[in-house]
Symmetry: C2
Subunit: 159 residues, 2 copies
């Protein structure tokens, strides 16, 4: 089973694809979608839609996993992130792939074994679990982590 | 000039189209997009995208106006509304129509003449300004109000 993890952010949207074969997890690809600085919000959303649709078409995931929004942010950044997240959820549905949601503690629990782990610990554990040669950038690591989380927990109720 | 106003909500998305001819404002259409209760979020977003795209194609607005999000809400409802709003902004951009944003006090100022007016006053003033025979439902009235606001203020910087 191929899983695409997405970490939608107000500035950067991370993505990571893994392949689950029995208990074995294999890294396929990861990266970050970074709209040009100073772009209009509408241009940012169009750009994320295009890049994410192309990624889904290329990598043909069986499932997509995404994190809940973390409530501790300031309100402006929360709104901006939620706007991007709405577009990301639409894009996945538009491509006809089922989408599953996990909370940040569930994701951290799945990769680090501790629900309140630091970002850096997530990067290191993702590198170890997926046998990467270098540390993935933070947003791509979060995306790979939520994909690993879905590979392990396998929720059945899509959003 | 034809203006589409949109009021994206976590449950109901109101819309209203008006025509501006010099200082004269004419009502074209208004209504509400109400996704089926209990639908998955992904189904809600797909449904809003389809209905809104069809509305834009049918009514061919020259500009679209939308309200800022009101910060006073609880966080869950704020996130849900912002997710819908992100999808609505994408849909307008996808249809190639410029989108302009107004704050709730700007909209109330434009239709009631008082930035802290109640919802009911907005409905009554929208009915009066656009010579409607009945009071429009609250979310459609808010959408017509933001269209009237754009007709009067005419911001030049799209989002």
């Amino acid at each position: 089973m191929r899983i695409l993890g997405i970490d939608p952010g107000s500035l950067v949207t991370g993505y990571g694809v893994i392949e689950k074969d029995g208990n074995y997890l294999r890294h396929v690809i990861h990266g970050e979608i970074k709209p040009q600085k100073g772009s209009l919000l509408s241009a940012v959303l169009i750009s994320i839609y295009r890049q994410l649709s192309a990624l889904i078409k290329e990598t043909t995931p069986d499932a997509i996993a995404i994190e809940n929004i973390f409530y501790g942010k300031n309100v402006r950044s929360l709104i901006r992130q939620a706007q991007v997240r709405g577009l990301v959820i639409f894009t996945c549905a538009d491509q006809g792939v089922a989408l599953f949601e996990y909370s940040p503690p569930e994701v951290k629990q799945a990769v680090v074994g501790y629900g309140r782990a630091e970002k850096r610990q997530v990067q290191i554990m993702v590198k170890t679990i997926l046998k990467l040669s270098t540390l993935p950038p933070a947003d791509a690591a979060d995306a790979l982590a939520v994909a690993v989380c879905h590979a392990n927990f396998g929720k059945e109720q899509p959003i």
